[in-house]
Symmetry: C2
Subunit: 232 residues, 2 copies
Amino acid sequence: MLECRDRLSGEEKQALADLPWRVRRYERGEEIVGEGSRPSQSCLLLEGYAARSGYLSNGRRQLTAVHIAGDFVDLHGLLLKVMDHSVVALTSCSVAFVDHGAVRDLTERMPHLGRMLFMTVAIDAAVQRNRIVGLGRRNPVSHLAHFACELFRRLQVVGLVDGNSFSFPVTQSELADLLGLSIVHTNRTMQELRATGPISWRDGIVTIEDWDRLVAVAEFTETYLNLFREPR
Amino acid sequence: MLECRDRLSGEEKQALADLPWRVRRYERGEEIVGEGSRPSQSCLLLEGYAARSGYLSNGRRQLTAVHIAGDFVDLHGLLLKVMDHSVVALTSCSVAFVDHGAVRDLTERMPHLGRMLFMTVAIDAAVQRNRIVGLGRRNPVSHLAHFACELFRRLQVVGLVDGNSFSFPVTQSELADLLGLSIVHTNRTMQELRATGPISWRDGIVTIEDWDRLVAVAEFTETYLNLFREPR
DNA sequence: CGCTAGGTTGAGGTACGTCAAGCTAAGTGG
DNA sequence: CCACTTAGCTTGACGTACCTCAACCTAGCG
């Protein structure tokens, strides 16, 4: 995942692999990191989908980010100390944890690798900026299309796309919390996107039927994903 | 600004000050960093307000973040290479620039200081997550109130609050682009907030009349701003 | 004196949300 | 095997929050 942004040396890869990881599984809906907690470990998503979630007093929630296999989900904790949101499993997940101390040492010993790690935080921020634009100024169809484009490209990088399809088994209720819509309107938005052709989305399998059209509807420009190799 | 999050040593402060800064002024509306550009310098806002802005083809725009004096506006460029959005001056600003190389060297020489810099990127991300929640799940009044709370606390930290008032001379049109609303509805939202008491907002001066009520309306919890000193 | 940028107001349209119901498929217990 | 439940998807009817359009007002400013 890092490797598509800049070349890593053998040593760097080894150092990452040598960190004292501990792996744990989570079931769909389980909380991986809780709001208000003070994590002493960072976590890397190995398999499945997870999301960052913010809650309001009226019980509403908004998902602020979706994470896929290979994402360093909680580097923030290393710098931010107290979680201001929680991370939940959207599907069953496998998650690897390392102590903050070990990560901090690593970034000090290998500054380039450290930059690459912090780069993932910056990319997450860029993704979030795009979500802000989507929520604020895109119509729901375009917003959903944009999300599909983004997910498709990110999954491609980690080899989780099969032809034009990928698996994204979340409910429309969760999608609604992601898009900031009601469930009913999310359903109608999806129907419109299916009816007009660019995408099909059934039983948790998303198939891109017409990429160019989807990109056009979404006004998708992938610069912000930083999917290019470059010295950093 | 960094200092309210963790103590900096004299050396660290000196090293920051010794960077080869170059200062430039920008007038209201000017672009400080352009979308698509490849900045070779990072910039620090010394004075005034700036915003990150995303544009859509229909001419709509969405402001994704507001920056105040003391903010390291463009550390991203150091890690992300190509700007996926632009940074514009909301008021006349004074901005200090340093070469990426100098910053990179500094982060390698002084890892703790480096972490503090990257921490600001992580905090920006946390602020953006809160904006996502606001756009997706808060009503406009609560969203605006939340924004006012956030701005108030951030300005306090850098000494730009005078009693219960601060200066924020932006037009309602800009506020609309920030909140993802139309100008008309932004106006009505502001009126409601003024009419119900917690805030007054006139001629670019915002006065908090009733902080507790404002916080309640906004459901504001300041954890995410990380305004506490802690070893990082 | 007229022009412009920005704030404000009213009227009417529309894109959403809410409520309520029906449908299907999977799971559970008899 | 069939009832029964439950989670998730879908649809229709209806209300409302927000947008759009259009005007008017005010305070600079040439």
